[in-house]
């Protein structure tokens, strides 16, 4: 394998490793000054050097792998206790990191790197690695530990085991089994429980699985406490804690020799894992605290490395950009596509008038070229706009906790699917409605702790925030395990507020009643909240979500909680659309909402309860005639037409059109302030032939339909 086929995977992974090395070294420097570098830190450093050596040798970067080899030897010595971690040795390690950065940057440009420039550093590494080794007697003889265990320990694990014995800690075996589907979670919980109490030396998957679908582990732990104390700490009776016995006679001898093999300043209570537990705090403080000394190290190494004339720069680069800049770019792409259309028009005219020769051909070719590049530009900008929901969800968790505290509820916010990606703009606009939903779940859903306990629930309520990609959509769900929607109370309130007529009320289905919650004027409280700055009502949520071409769906079980699903398109900036014609008018229907298209024989249309419906695979779907809605009049409905079946959330409908013209990506343009609120119209867009057409707002149409069926006209009056 030669450097010629330098893979981007290699470069980015190598850079990641070097970044990790740098971070760990900075932390180690602080820790070394404070006393002792925890074993985890040194082991991480070793693993990084080891991985870097492995991949660089495989990918043929010998200069990098030689240096990594030298670094690995020093770190191996450190983790096995043969080399002392001190400012001098750390300086050399920092020098390696700087040199790696130079070499990786060079590799990105195809340069193999000059071995001679690494030579002084490698010599220094060898010097450090030769550092006096501490005489080691074999402490393993002091304990009853089986050969089957010893045989699977790596050298490092064996060293940690010896270290624990030497420090006079007790050794324990935690024997437990987990379900195969989530054993890593179980192990992580155990790790967390043991943190600060003992050091996990190794985890052995045991072949003696009790039953299929489960897996057993023997976890070897060194700790100062006894087995029964450890069992209490773990607090899980499925975990069996056994102790590994010391061999009595030699143990006495161990006690005498132990202090001499330790650094004099340390008390035996300073257990390695206890230091490990306290390290995250110092981690965070480390970069700021050691900035000065790091700069010093960098300066020193630059002196030796600058000969290659390369700057120390990061290979994997990230830029943070204001979303408005991307919006401007996207708008520009929209404008450019109009220019493109104009070019094509001119090209067509030239072809017609001058024939397909000379300049006409050139213009045609270039406008084709332009079109392709423009499409690439569009796709590129789109890609940049996509962001994971993780940040938003994190914010929601914080807000949720705060709201819970203020309202006197015990709430835990569980998050899943946070890596799902959405257009940045949608994510931004989702913050407000999502906050309303979470506030609502805590305020109206989760009961006060004593009430929960009285109903046999745990005092802590759970609000689950989840996201899932479904084709061109993302479904964001907010569910709680609270009291659920009280159907009777809701209905009574709606009647009292005049949103539903008393006659209609008894006929309403559960679903329709949930729909009432989203009506304007239903909200029971009109108050300005700190979080939203507006009155909190679900109608606001629905309006905001609708603006994003999304829909809100609610289901609930009384006493068991409420589940709200928000279905959103992945992006709004540029969307695929179906172009249709009805009574000689052309419209675009966003494909986001289109499920299928059907050819319909006018004779197949039936009327149920004064509504036109068609059968689609056994189910009935209500028809929406654009002729009626847009009052197009003129020609009569043809005998053969098409139905565009659309759905948002759980609602379905079929839009009747005369003809399916084709499919096209569109950028929706606003109709301007005056026409912004035209119902059923999302905006306008340009077709290739310089024709401006209206874009149908399916979400609004479907919602309108749902409302009509829900409250049979009464809602129309309430609006």
């Amino acid at each position: 394998m030669s450097p010629a086929n330098a893979s981007p995977e290699f470069l980015s992974e190598a850079q990641e490793i070097v970044d990790a090395l740098n971070r760990d070294l900075i932390a180690a420097e602080t820790e070394a000054r404070a006393g002792e570098v925890p074993p985890d830190r040194v082991n991480n450093l070793f693993r990084s050097a080891h991985s870097l050596k492995g991949i660089s040798s495989m990918f043929g970067y010998d200069t990098i792998s030689h240096l990594a080899h030298g670094l690995e030897s020093v770190l191996d010595g450190m983790r096995l206790g043969r080399v002392h971690v001190d400012p001098v040795s750390l300086d050399v390690l920092f020098g390696c990191v700087e040199r790696f950065s130079v070499l990786i940057a060079g590799a990105a440009e195809g340069a193999p790197g000059d071995e001679a420039l690494s030579a002084p550093l490698i010599a220094k590494l060898e010097q450090v690695a030769r550092g006096e080794s501490v005489a080691v007697s074999d402490p393993l003889q002091l304990v009853n530990i089986g050969e089957d265990v010893l045989s699977v320990l790596t050298e490092y694990e064996e060293h940690r085991l010896k270290e624990n014995i030497r420090r006079g800690r007790n050794l324990h075996i935690l024997r437990t089994s987990f379900d195969l589907s989530n054993f890593d979670l179980g192990l992580a919980e155990l790790d967390a429980a043991l943190k600060g109490v003992g050091e996990v030396i190794t985890k052995l998957p045991s072949a003696k699985a009790a039953q299929a679908g489960s897996i057993s582990f023997d976890i070897i732990v060194g700790a100062d406490c006894t087995s029964s104390e450890l069992a209490k700490t773990v607090g899980d009776d499925r975990v069996e804690v056994l102790s590994i016995q010391r061999r009595a006679m030699v143990a006495e001898q161990d006690k005498r020799t132990a202090p001499s093999s330790q650094a004099p300043s340390k008390s035996s209570a300073a257990a390695p894992s206890a230091e490990g537990a306290s390290s995250p705090g110092s981690d965070a403080a480390a970069p700021a605290a050691t900035e000065g000394s790091l700069a010093g190290a960098a300066g020193e190494v630059n002196g030796s490395a600058s000969d290659d004339g390369q700057t120390v720069k990061s290979v994997s680069q990230t830029v943070r950009v204001d979303i408005r800049r991307l919006d401007r770019l996207m708008n520009l792409v929209g404008e450019l596509s109009l220019t493109k259309t104009a070019f094509q028009h001119i090209s067509d005219v030239m072809k017609r008038e001058l024939g397909f020769t000379g300049l006409a051909v050139d213009l045609h070719k270039e406008s084709r070229n332009f079109e392709r590049r423009l499409a690439e530009l569009q796709a590129g900008i789109m890609e940049v706009r996509m962001v994971p929901l993780a940040n938003l969800f994190e914010r929601m968790v914080r807000v949720g906790r705060k709201i819970g505290r203020e309202l006197g509820r015990q709430v835990r916010i569980d998050v899943s699917g946070e890596n799902t990606e959405l257009d940045k703009l949608i994510v931004e606009d989702l913050a407000d409605p999502l906050m309303h939903l979470i506030r609502n779940a805590i305020d109206h859903g989760i009961e006060p702790p004593d009430e929960r306990v009285a109903h046999g629930k745990s005092s802590e309520g759970v609000v689950r925030l989840a996201a899932e990609a479904q084709g061109n959509h993302v479904v964001v769900e907010v569910s709680d395990d609270g009291r659920g929607v009280d159907v009777k109370k809701t209905l009574a309130l709606a009647v009292k507020k005049g949103l539903v007529s008393p006659e209609r009320a008894p006929e309403m289905t559960r679903r329709e009643i949930y729909g009432l919650l989203f009506l304007p004027g239903f909200s029971t409280r009109v108050e300005v909240s700190e979080y939203s700055g507006r009155g909190v009502g679900l109608d606001v949520v629905k309006t905001n979500i609708s603006k994003l071409s999304g829909i809100v769906d609610i289901t609930s079980a009384e006493g068991d909680g409420t589940h709200i699903a928000v279905t959103l398109p992945i992006t709004l900036a540029i969307i695929p659309a179906l172009v249709v014609s009805v009574a000689r008018n052309t419209y675009a229907i966003p494909l986001n909402n289109v499920m299928e298209t059907l050819a319909i024989d006018a004779g197949a249309v039936r009327t149920i309860e004064r509504r036109e419906v068609i059968s689609v695979r056994g189910g009935t779907v209500p028809l929406v005639d654009l002729r009626q809605i847009f009052r197009l009049g003129g020609e009569k409905r043809p005998a053969m037409l098409y139905g565009v079946v659309a759905g948002v959330g759980q609602s379905r409908m079929a839009l009747l059109v005369d003809e399916l013209v084709g499919q096209q990506d569109i950028v929706i343009k606003s109709l301007g302030r005056r026409l912004r609120r035209v119902p059923g119209i999302a905006g306008a867009t340009e077709l290739g032939n310089q024709q401006t057409i209206l874009v149908i707002d399916m979400v609004e149409l479907i919602n309108e339909m749902a409302d009509v069926t829900a409250a049979a006209g009464v809602i129309g009056a309430a609006r």
């Binding site: 992974e13 080891h50 040798s57 990918f59 191996d76 699977v152 050298e155 195969l180 052995l204």
Partner: protein, 124 residues
């Protein structure tokens, strides 16, 4: 078709091993990034060969190997260890635990392919 499991925490290395082994006739590679993932996958799929690294963050390759060798279902599945030469002692341990072969990084694609073919011939 031989199904081959590659257990390696470095994604660049995993991809490289995967692409080399993929070119061996009749081989289909499944890549996992940790010993835990391997433990989860083993009962669900049967593999003709396991290729594993030694130094990994959750359980090490020796522990995985020992698990495989003690379990009647995978007892005969050949295991190829790939690791760096610095872990000479680990190599000896691996062979003692019942690994069928050991490759030291860096190795050439041909070396890896030859080792894979040889181990598959044992099973066949």
């Amino acid at each position: 078709m031989y199904k081959i499991l590659v257990v390696e925490d470095s994604s660049a290395m995993r991809g490289l091993i995967g692409s080399i082994v993929d070119r061996v006739e009749d081989c289909e590679v499944t890549e996992v990034s940790s010993g835990f993932e391997a433990l989860r996958l083993l009962p669900r799929e049967s593999f003709a060969l396991i290729i594993t690294d030694i130094n990994m963050p959750d359980i090490n390759g020796l522990e995985l190997l020992s698990f495989v060798r003690k379990n009647p279902s995978y007892l005969t599945t050949p295991v190829l260890i790939v690791s760096t030469e610095s872990s000479e002692r680990d190599r000896a341990k691996g062979m003692a635990l019942g690994a069928n072969a050991y490759l030291t990084k860096p190795f050439t694609p041909e070396e890896l392919q030859a080792a894979v073919k040889k181990l598959l011939a044992i099973t066949a």
